[in-house]
């Protein structure tokens, strides 16, 4: 009986093999037909040494990056009492909570601009206040009366490098515009601290700071 079943099974297997295919017992390798390859040179390609990426879409920093960057530069964290205000407004600023939101909203929306301005104003005021009182402070010299324009312009360049990471060129249009800003505030307030506060806020609320 067992031999009959084996016979039936083997018949069932072989009967389904296409007639033009290899037989179930033929296991020897088959050589594929060769393919002619034309090895003649078609042309030369010059590899460019310039591999610099010219441009890419700029992305806004997320809230954590902003907080860390501003602290790194100024040593000041945006707070009200003991409350870190970046944390206080994190939900409105689109920071993910990984319950309802898993990715951060990185638009430069109206409400983002408002809170960035608030953060910059608080941070700049505290930074300049801290640094201008100390004889070795970063803003000490430039907040003293009677500084030459070259000293002040050099400080604008330093600030720009510090905040935007961009070195000023000669007759740099951005630096000139910031210099105009400084002068305008100084003329109106006759207060160098106010002028530097405004310059600092301008730098931190400029897209060159918060996008990369």
């Amino acid at each position: 009986m067992k031999s009959v079943i084996v016979l039936m099974l083997s018949w069932g297997c072989t009967s389904s093999v296409p007639s033009d295919g290899p037989s179930s017992t033929d296991t020897s390798p088959v050589e594929n037909p060769s393919i002619d390859v034309n090895e003649e040179l078609l042309g030369d390609v010059e590899l460019s040494e310039d591999t610099t990426v010219v441009a890419r879409r700029r992305v806004r920093m997320n809230v954590d990056q902003l907080n860390q960057s501003m602290q790194q530069i100024t040593g000041v964290e945006w707070k009200s009492g003991n409350t870190v205000l970046w944390d206080r407004y994190s939900s409105t600023l689109g920071v993910p909570d990984f319950e309802e939101r898993t990715s951060e909203d990185l638009e430069g929306s109206v409400i983002f601009q408002k809170f960035l301005q608030d953060a910059a104003t608080y941070t700049c005021n505290s930074w300049i206040e801290n640094e201008s009182e100390d004889g070795d402070g970063y803003f000490y010299v430039v907040t003293q009366e009677g500084q030459t324009s070259s000293v002040l312009k050099a400080h604008i360049g330093h600030l720009r490098y510090l905040i935007h990471g961009i070195s000023s060129g000669e007759e740099d249009a951005f630096d000139e515009s910031v210099w105009d800003l400084y002068q305008l505030v100084y003329q109106r307030t006759e207060n160098s601290v106010s002028a530097w506060q405004t310059v600092c806020v301008a730098m931190f609320t400029h897209p060159n700071f918060y996008t990369y």
């Binding site: 407004y89 409400i111 608080y122 910031v178 105009d180 307030t189």
Partner: protein
């Protein structure tokens, strides 16, 4: 001209690129996909989108079932389980009105049934919260997690113009702008306190001289800018500053005694309500003080009641608080005369939505899982109320096809309806017949 003069010249609203506001509005219309055939019937129209987050249970409010018919004995056939016996509020807690029947947690809206339109048996595209919420807000099925269109509120705001300080106010939920002007983007915050903070001076502020100088500096930067993405950022920066000077913040200061009566009316801080009462108060203030034309607010969250305890004790009260906020808002809008005639509710269409609804069958935890059908509630804006459009079936509460002209079920010749149909209906009610939202569905003509 400095920024303050610019601001005063345009009556406190935002102007871009030196064009007058009405010119900007005309441009928005002219640049829309199908210009030339627009004819907004009455520009004095307003919209409120009310979001119930987490997926609501139809049995508890908008689409209940008779527990005497849908008994436990017939669950194997119907796949419908009212679960009312688990709630401890009576064996048949449904609320009957002359026009429609509600579940037990419809709240004060039950007394306004003659003004309400219920849409039942809507067909959804997803039972994933994120993508389905995007579908609900944009009335277009998203591509995965990416929206394929703007929020309906954004589209309507872009059509109604930018004369208002915040064309499109959004609190507690998301907003999308894919193709419309920047000024029609949702002004998003997570709660009223943050919204108020966004309109108020920070804890340290600059002087007027400093702000004026900054304005001039950024104007120069904008003129010299070559990066298109920065244009939007400069415009938004300017809008934020102008809003700060508009004096609007006092309207939303929940700590102000000036809002005492409104807070009491909406139940803010009464120990029963949550943020939804603050959000409804904000919507009323934004609309009636000319701040916004479109407001979207979250009326309830945490409705994702898979767990039995949560479904039995929290889901209903959260729904009820949300619907009560809508009832309070609608009632006060109705009691407030509109300067152009009628009352504010007659000019304000309110659309309550959730991303999908919960399963008619309780799960093993006696909670409810996700389900692919949905409901919606509309009122105001001149809609003839007291009507129910569509219905779910008596087996599995499935979607059914609807005759759009009558609103009745017609499984032979009707169509399945979804958010797209409602959005298109709102456009029609504005007088816009062209499919500006690319919804690719006709309006529910029974509502026109």
């Amino acid at each position: 001209m400095n920024r303050r003069e610019l601001f005063q010249r345009f009556g406190g609203a935002v102007a871009l690129n030196g064009l007058s506001l009405s010119a900007m509005s005309r441009m928005a219309l002219a640049n829309s996909p199908s210009s030339g055939t627009l004819g907004i019937v009455d520009p004095e129209q307003y919209f409120v989108f009310v979001v119930f987050g987490g997926a609501w249970d139809p049995m508890l409010a908008l689409d209940p079932r008779d527990p005497a018919v849908f008994t436990d004995a017939v669950i194997p056939e119907t796949k419908i389980q009212t679960g009312y016996d688990l709630l401890g509020i009576g064996s048949d807690p449904r609320i009957q009105t002359p026009n429609m029947t509600f579940g037990p947690y419809i709240g004060n809206l039950s007394s306004m049934s003659e003004k309400l339109v219920l849409v039942r048996g809507m067909s959804m595209s997803s039972v994933g919260h994120s993508s389905a919420t995007k579908h609900a807000l944009t009335a277009r099925v998203p591509s995965g997690e990416s929206v394929r269109g703007s929020s309906v509120a954004t589209l309507l705001s872009s059509l109604l113009g930018e004369e208002n300080e915040i064309a499109n106010l959004v609190v507690g939920t998301d907003s999308y702008n894919v193709e419309h002007p920047v000024w029609s983007s949702g002004f998003q915050s997570s709660n009223v306190d943050d919204f108020h903070a966004a309109l108020s001076e920070g804890n340290v502020s600059l002087s007027d001289s400093q702000n004026d100088a900054l304005y001039q500096f950024f104007e120069r930067e904008r003129r010299n800018n070559t990066i298109s993405r920065f244009d939007t950022m400069y415009a938004n920066r300017e809008s934020a500053q102008l809003l700060l000077e508009s004096g609007t913040s006092a309207l939303f200061d929940l700590d102000s005694p000036d809002l005492g009566d409104l807070k009491q009316y909406f139940g803010v801080g009464n120990g029963i309500t949550g943020s939804e009462s603050e959000n409804a108060l904000m919507a009323y203030q934004a609309l009636t003080n000319g701040v916004s034309r479109c407001v979207t607010y979250k009326a309830a969250g945490g409705l994702d009641s898979h767990n039995g305890d949560d479904w039995q004790t929290q889901h209903g009260p959260r729904l009820q608080n949300g619907f009560n906020s809508v009832a309070a808002l609608a009632t006060l809008l109705e009691d407030t005369p509109h300067p152009s005639g009628g009352n504010w509710l007659s000019r304000t269409t309110i659309w309550c939505m959730s991303e999908f609804q919960r399963n008619p069958l309780l799960n093993n935890n006696f909670g409810r899982d996700h389900y692919i059908t949905n409901s919606a509630l509309l009122l105001g804006g001149g809609l003839v109320g007291g009507r129910v459009i569509g219905a779910t079936s008596d087996q599995k509460m499935s979607s059914q096809k609807v005759d759009l002209a009558t609103g009745t079920v017609d499984n032979d010749n009707g169509v399945y309806i979804s958010h797209e149909h409602i959005a298109r209906t709102l456009l029609y009610r504005l007088g816009v017949e062209d499919d500006l939202g690319d919804y690719r569905e006709p309006p529910i003509t029974a509502l026109l």
